[in-house]
């Protein structure tokens, strides 16, 4: 069992937690994730490691409440325990040698992007961060990004806070103005990462995307997390949990990944309703 050391609500649908898991905290690098199960009957879900505290053995996670499991997790309080917590899984984000990077985060993807931006900042990389949200209420981690970015642009889809529009708007402006980056690292909804990649393409800037397909074991055993890359005209199957989650944005077949992501759409909707009703009852 793994103890919840701290819990904080970042906005109505996004929660921050610290979980006691010293072995994971010892090893974690930016871009890696964990898999957890809330209780004995629970589903295994992946969440990115948002940071660690080696002294307390704490692993920080930031999650959006989207379905049954995240709903259940959100009902656990500091001091309580969760059943399983395994990691660090996946390959760390390659950040060595990068001098100037643009980090583009969307929604809860910003939680995944933050540790990468922090690691870049810590190694002396010049960091531009563009973070986008649907509206003001969903904004998270603005101060944290400010602290690790040389420049920060905040966007909201509806203009209810900061700049109005998509994250691709300022990105395109910067590239059009002749700015260059060694790498664009983008993390967020698939559709956003697809358009960030398309925006960068005419300029030839390398793009790293963080793929978050449905996972079970996280060790390369089930193949459920597979996605297709197009490498030199050939389709290559990769497992996001071990080969990723980071991939070259120009190679990823986003349309296929989006279709696969909807495999259990109906099931998840029903399970979430059930979990909500359960908590309403108590």
């Amino acid at each position: 069992m793994y103890k919840i050391l701290a819990k904080k609500s970042l906005n109505p649908t996004v929660t921050y937690m610290e979980i006691e898991a010293p072995l994971v905290a010892n090893k974690a690098k930016a871009g890696q994730f964990i898999i957890l199960r809330v209780d004995e009957e629970g589903e295994r879900i992946p969440l990115t490691i948002a940071g660690v505290n080696k002294e307390t053995g704490a692993v920080k996670i930031i999650f959006q409440i989207v379905g049954a499991t995240t709903e259940k997790l959100n009902h656990k309080e500091a001091g309580e325990c969760i059943q399983d917590f395994v990691g660090p899984l996946g390959t760390p984000t390659h950040i060595q040698g990068l001098k100037k990077v643009c980090v583009v985060g969307g929604g809860v993807g910003c939680a995944i992007a933050l540790p990468v931006a922090e690691a870049l900042h810590a190694q002396g990389t010049e960091v531009t961060s563009i973070i986008g949200f649907r509206n003001k209420d969903l904004l998270i981690l603005e101060d944290e990004f400010k602290a690790c970015s040389d420049r920060l642009v905040v966007m909201t889809d509806d203009g209810s806070y900061a700049r109005h529009g998509n994250v691709t708007v300022p990105l395109k402006e910067m590239l059009d103005a002749g700015e260059t980056f060694d790498m664009i690292i983008t993390i967020g909804p698939l559709i956003m990462m697809k358009f960030v990649t398309l925006t960068a393409k005419p300029f030839g800037t390398p793009v790293t995307v963080s793929m978050n397909p449905i996972m079970i074991d996280g060790t390369g055993m089930c193949g459920g997390c597979r996605l297709s890359l197009l490498q030199e005209g050939k389709r290559v199957t990769k497992f996001a949990c071990v080969d990723g989650p980071d991939f070259n944005g120009y190679e990823v077949d986003f349309d296929e990944a989006m279709a696969r992501g909807r495999t259990y759409f109906d099931f998840e909707r029903k399970a979430h309703e059930k979990a909500c009703n359960l908590f309403k009852g108590v």
Binding site: L23, V24, K27, R37, E41, G42, E43, R44, A68, T69, Q83, D84, F85, V86, G87, P88, L89, I216, D217, G218, T219, G220, M221, C222, G223, G224, R226, L227, S228, T237, V242, D253, E256, A259, R260, R262, T263, Y264, F265, F267, E268, A271, K274
Partner: protein, 469 residues
């Protein structure tokens, strides 16, 4: 006088039309009197040909003689001298190609039901024995075991009995390896595996779940933590795909994913947290035990029709004979000499947002015929030109084999593997690294429970010799 009936005593089973809708065990096991009757079919051959067919050389005539005398605990003792998982192996061993293939009674009839007797003895012991295993006194040495499949559990058990302090590290949240995530409940009840694990704990073995060696800790760190020897029993869990178009469509699973969702994540229960596609028409590609398990699981989850698609003929099916017979009885249809060439998906040209887009609707296959035998003497299937046809489907499950997971190789300097990814070991199970041993599917590629168990025993012996020097 021996019982000269040419046929084995039948194994009582749940009726096919009943069991096709539940996950309870199919084979129910012999009654005492039937076991004794079957034991009487054994001729107690002096040369013991059957023993040479068993990978761990269980003293078969000796344990069967005890069954005949109704000394069932005595029979258990004979078996447990060489095997540590008889309740498992009695159920899942491919007996017809191992011990029973060598039995002299098989020449003019059916062999003695060795596996069924072994299962009977183990179940009898589990139901009647009250003695708890005693924790031996410590010899002061620490050994780490990576993976809790049959090879790891066996190695841990043998070492613990000798007084070693053993810690098993398991990546998943539950111990048992393929026995819990792969082989379904209806063939191997999970309570049996659980009991084996509990017994190990009583012997003092510590089981650390949720630890991925190579990620959470490395082999080198295990040595730094004071472990003096390491056994790698990490299995062959990496699923192969065919690399044909359409394998990424919604509704295409590897058998590992499908079975893991059902077994380990309990998706077969009424209201699970983990989803799985139920119902519809399902094709399982492959002909081994894994394919049979996936097909029969799909049926039990509520599929309206289940096919096995296999490129060779009935005679070449690598699955256990009993599983094939059970599958046929349950109504699974075998499309033999058939090979998939493409999985077909739904595409609504008018509406790209149609949620059915990208879902499986069928599979294009080609007929095969058996050509010249290859080096191993197996006749190679070759496609029949112009014989393509389409099958109507909702789910496709790929059960065409697995390879050893490269995680340990990639994170352990100096650990050598062969071209198939199998860890290279000596006869005693020693790898290219000092004090690191390996066995089971991680070495051989996908094989059997009994051979994995045997490898765990061999390595335990070698580790004991190494550490008591």
């Amino acid at each position: 006088m021996p019982n000269m009936n040419p046929k084995k005593n039948e194994m009582p089973t749940q009726a096919p039309e009943v069991r096709a809708h539940n996950f309870s065990e199919v084979a129910l096991g012999y009654e005492e009197s039937v076991a004794v009757d079957e034991a009487n079919r054994c001729l107690n051959c002096k040369t013991m040909p059957c023993v040479s067919g068993c990978p761990v050389n269980i003293r078969i005539p000796e344990f069967i003689a005890k069954v005949r005398e109704m000394d069932f605990e005595g029979a258990y003792e004979v078996i447990s001298k060489t095997s540590s998982l008889p309740a498992v192996c009695g159920r899942v061993c491919p007996q017809e190609t191992q011990c029973e293939s060598k039995c002299v009674r098989g020449i003019k009839g059916e062999s003695v039901g060795i596996g069924r007797l072994e299962r009977f003895v183990a179940d009898y012991h589990n139901a009647h024995s009250k003695e708890a295993p005693v924790r031996p006194s410590s010899n002061g040495h620490k050994v780490a075991v990576i993976g809790s499949g049959p090879s790891g559990l066996t190695c841990a058990g043998d070492l613990a009995k000798k007084g070693y302090a053993v810690t098993v590290f398991e990546a998943l949240h539950l111990a048992g390896g393929v026995l819990v995530y792969g082989i379904p409940e209806f063939r191997l009840p999970k309570a049996i595996v659980q009991k084996e694990v509990e017994t190990l704990k009583m012997l003092g073995v510590e089981i650390m779940t949720n630890v991925v060696i190579g990620k959470t800790l490395t082999v080198d760190e295990l040595f730094q933590m004071g472990f003096e020897a390491i056994f790698i029993g990490s299995g062959a869990g990496l699923p192969n795909f065919m690399n044909i178009p359409g394998e990424a469509l919604k509704g295409v699973y590897s058998a590992n994913e499908f079975l893991t969702r059902s077994n380990l994540m309990k998706a077969y229960k009424d209201e699970p947290d983990t989803p799985i596609m139920k119902g519809g028409k399902v094709a399982v590609v492959g002909g081994g035990n894994v394919a049979m398990d996936a097909a029969r699981t799909a049926l039990r989850l509520g599929a309206e029709k289940v096919y096995i698609v296999y490129r060779r003929s009935m005679d070449e099916l690598p699955a256990r004979k009993e599983e094939v017979e059970h599958a046929i009885e349950e109504g699974i249809e075998f499309k033999l000499l058939t090979n998939p060439i493409e999985i077909l998906g739904y595409k609504n040209q008018e509406d790209p947002r149609d949620p059915r887009n990208g879902s499986v609707i069928g599979m294009k296959c080609i007929k095969m015929e058996l050509g010249e035998p290859d080096q191993k003497g197996r006749r190679r299937p070759v496609p029949v030109e112009g014989s393509e046809f389409d099958m109507d489907l909702d789910v496709v499950i790929m059960a065409i084999g697995t390879s050893p997971n490269p995680l340990l190789k990639n994170t352990t300097e100096g650990l050598e593997v062969n071209s198939h990814g199998g860890i290279i070991v000596t006869e005693g199970g020693l790898t290219s690294r000092v004090a690191v041993y390996a066995g089971g599917d991680a070495v051989t590629g996908a094989a059997t429970v009994i051979s994995a168990m045997g490898a765990g025993k061999v390595a335990a012996k070698a580790i004991d010799e190494y550490l008591s020097k």
